[in-house]
Symmetry: C2
Subunit: 223 residues, 2 copies
Amino acid sequence: MSSAVQKRRPQTAQQFVLEELRRAITSGELRPGGPIRQEALAARFEVSRVPLREALKSLEAEGLVVHHVHRGYFVAELSLNDLEEIYRIRELLETEAVRIAVRRLPDGTIATLERIQREVERAADEGDVAAMAAANRLFHFTLIEASGMPRLVRLVTTLWDSTDAYRSLYYTESPHRKQAVREHRAVLSALRHGDEDAAVRRLDEHRAHAVAALREVLDLERD
Amino acid sequence: MSSAVQKRRPQTAQQFVLEELRRAITSGELRPGGPIRQEALAARFEVSRVPLREALKSLEAEGLVVHHVHRGYFVAELSLNDLEEIYRIRELLETEAVRIAVRRLPDGTIATLERIQREVERAADEGDVAAMAAANRLFHFTLIEASGMPRLVRLVTTLWDSTDAYRSLYYTESPHRKQAVREHRAVLSALRHGDEDAAVRRLDEHRAHAVAALREVLDLERD
DNA sequence: CGATCGGATATTGGATCCAGTATTGATAAT
DNA sequence: ATTATCAATACTGGATCCAATATCCGATCG
């Protein structure tokens, strides 16, 4: 419905800072484990520390940053165990969302998904990692939001956010992008047939491949 | 070294305010839908509005309060739809937690659960609603925490918190308390036999009864 | 030479003050 | 009488200032 998404600057400083911080963290610009210097960031965003701290409290609740009393905020660092737990929880929640969504699939949803999928494939071909990540995310959430379960969607959103910095690693490699494209096509095919079980199975495989790739990457990075 | 452990008074004002606010909301002292007047609450807790606002940001992320720009915070109000969604999500997450927990049940867990269950029964007999709610919660979380999945536990915790104000309604009636006692016994029995499926089934029933009761209560309260 | 203590500095936590927005209530016009 | 207008008020959002705590680094002592 609302596809006219213009870059409206948020009304309050905290909303602005929240968006900017989230982008900085999920893009990896602020390194996992690194400290968050409030004075410096406030200056960079041209706000005082007050709205910055409120934004950080929101991010803390989402698990993007951690807070130590009198020592400040640090970008959250995820171990392999953490990642596996997050993906397992995603599996539980997304499976439910997709099952409900398939049963009540609103008109035009499949057409929308196909349109998004074309963008995914374009980005995959051109090796545009950022666009690939964005389109991939849009694909999944278009489906999940069709469940009509707002809290479920919100939980899944925070789970995706908390691993965004790691997911980008995954899409930098062309074979992974091609794999994701194939898997999306399989999901779409299942959806066209209204086959709930098949759709869930395809998505599970999709997720499992991502976890396996992350496992490799993190093992390599170990020093 | 470390000073002697006193009455666990939180180190910072926001931690203190966060605990007090959570208690005030989950106990129903602050009514669902009601506005949160920052100046008044800050005065009551003898802090400034700054730590109060940071605590409110945390509670917003947990879903205990909602925030409207330039209008302030309000205690979250849950519709029956919301409650049903929350219980459904709890079912998904708690089922996983319990399955994992049963497989790796640490020594002494069952003994601990039996001890807690005695407290549940005592509170149920005496009609001590607050103690009943506390012991019931402890029972469930002792089991859930045995899963060793910290994020899962955290999610389930926030889901419980967000419905605490409504759950108390449930335990005010003696038949409901007796029912809960019976259901806990059934869960314990399944656990003693290491029967994962049975334990999950019992807990599902336990939850379903709670939802049914809430449905009644909310229908009655409709005016 | 290593460990420990103590002060200087950096950084966070909190209070107060100011600005901007929403709400309220009174007034006026139809 | 009803509604629109607009000023007074209440409350939130944000900036600045101050206090409390941690960290860093050099001096001192074993």
